[in-house]
Symmetry: C2
Subunit: 338 residues, 2 copies
């Protein structure tokens, strides 16, 4: 029931995702009277779906703590509960981000060894796409948090993007070893010292994100959120300037008509709906946040992400990688006698 | 002598800036044999310039501490010294950023009340342009630092961009009061409580930078640097995608030819050379860092910035604003009894 165009775009997105992945099965939580005709309008979707009625919803204005206390019967909470109950393997929601994170954390619990879950997403790059985290869950991060993000981001890149040996960069204000705050410098030290299922590239800078310098970009939730929104803002400014330029006079409009198919390819390449879906990593269950203002195409992509995470057993991989890391880090600490 | 195309682009930039501002006078520091023919090739420039020979330069690979100790006779150091000696009113360099900052700080000293100088620049927005700081001088900032940046950024917006009553936004991961780390929350509290020569807008997010939501965007040097470079990287990615799209087939190329004048206007609008020049704010003197890889057009813009800062008495304005703020903050502390 969450998001600007819910539940219509949620159901529409499920229909699209089901066409791509016929193995998918859906549990929809929300207002039966509203959901039922939408689901039953498509025979394939109706056959793959079950609706659970609730008239309670989490509002976009609810504080996370408020949603946790008062939203026990909400569609969002019941959807997350269905994972803990073993009925579902993942949840996708376009609702209140803070509430979804708080409830997911409360119900699913964090993976062993992970102190704080992170929000992770993919972004388009020159070559293909890159994985970035944390995008806003943790405004203050220490070195341990950043190392955990690196391990989770690399597991995501292997499982969801199929990168066999993902490279990981730590976002910083320069590439030299001396640069940066204490957290990134200490994290770099750990990532260099411990043998992990990733290639540690070293520091990367803000322009490396879309350059695709590394498969994974790791940063704290403050810088990550600022960078992500700065990228989105720049893309919007460019689109707006381009639109103005290509409609400014008759020649430009004619030129636009001729170049339109090529420009459409460009538009598809950077279409934010193709990158919709903020994944909560570090929980014992798959929880994906869709942008609230997306449409069914965007929501289908968020479902795709959840599907790949489940199919590739991402949670188990992260748990295994973290166990290995904790073991290695322990040995290392013993070796250096601290 | 600093920068990829120095000293040719430095001299070329001075020539352009002199055409715009005939009152300008230049002291060039560097290799006389190299500089002299370049300066004397233009009669107007030769008449407005003096060359001071030195064969020592700061290298782009020098550490700031190294440059400070060993670069006492370098062109960069002598140029900064000329401000302290009362010969010049500002310095512009395309050389080593860290060295320029360290030397400027050492020679010029920080403005009374300013703990740490910041790097400030302008960026294009939907409407016009915005001022942003810190862009990388201070990776860790507390609330006091951020407040000082706000005061300096607002003074810059008034003096250089002519904004009579500049609005200031604090960069954060959300607009709600509860969001963010301790530093931004405490800084917001101070900016709300004290009467300053600026309009405090509240929190802004990464996409507000280029939206032009506020005249000034204030943040720590880590997030600021990451955001600036993320913006630059996105702009480059878009330009690259656009170039590919408009050369991908015959129709697109024809369309491009027709739309070219309009697209050129777009390109001019976001031309990074128009925004070249990182200003060190918080020092008792004007010190401007040009991008190392710029050309004479870009370098001329960096000189323009220094010129406006000097003509409008920016340093005195910041000093006065800081004195007023310290006085008010003191009264406030007395009033609340801390």
């Amino acid at each position: 029931m969450g998001g600007d165009n819910a539940p219509d775009m949620v159901i529409g997105g499920a229909k699209l995702a089901l066409q791509r992945h016929p193995d998918l099965r859906f549990l929809f939580f929300g207002d039966m009277a509203h959901l039922s005709p939408l689901v039953h309008a498509d025979r394939a979707l109706a056959g793959a779906s079950e609706i659970r009625h609730t008239d309670k919803t989490v509002l976009s204005t609810d504080r996370p703590s408020q949603a946790l206390r008062q939203g026990r019967e909400s569609s969002m909470r019941l959807a997350i509960n269905s994972i803990a109950d073993g009925e579902a393997q993942g949840v996708v929601s376009a609702g209140n981000t803070g509430a979804l994170m708080a409830m997911s954390k409360f119900v699913l619990k964090t993976t062993s060894g992970i102190e704080r879950p992170a929000i992770c997403s993919t972004l388009p790059t020159m070559q293909s796409e890159t994985v970035m985290l944390d995008l806003g869950a943790n405004v203050d991060c220490d070195a341990e948090n950043l190392v955990q993000f690196a391990i989770m981001g690399a597991a995501f890149a292997r499982a969801v993007l199929g990168r066999a040996d993902p490279s990981v960069g730590l976002l910083n204000v320069g590439e030299e070893e001396l640069k940066g705050n204490e957290a990134v410098k200490a994290a770099a030290g750990i990532l260099k010292a411990v043998d992990l299922p990733l290639r540690f590239h070293g520091f990367v800078e803000g322009d490396d994100i879309l350059k695709g310098t590394t498969d994974v970009v790791v940063t704290d939730g403050f810088s990550g959120n600022v960078a992500l929104k700065a990228v989105e803002g720049t893309a919007k400014l460019y689109s707006s300037f381009l639109r103005t330029a290509l409609t400014s006079n008759l020649f430009a409009r004619l030129g636009y008509l001729l170049a339109r198919p090529s420009l459409q390819t460009l538009r598809d390449r950077v279409d934010p709906r193709r990158y919709n879906g903020g994944v909560f990593l570090g929980l014992n269950g798959v929880s994906v946040k869709s942008h609230g203002s997306t449409d069914e195409l965007g929501f289908a992509h968020a479902i795709d992400l959840a599907f790949y995470m489940i199919r590739e057993g991402l949670i188990d991989r992260i748990t295994a990688d973290m166990a290995q890391f904790s073991h290695d880090a322990e040995s290392l600490r013993e070796a250096v006698g601290t």
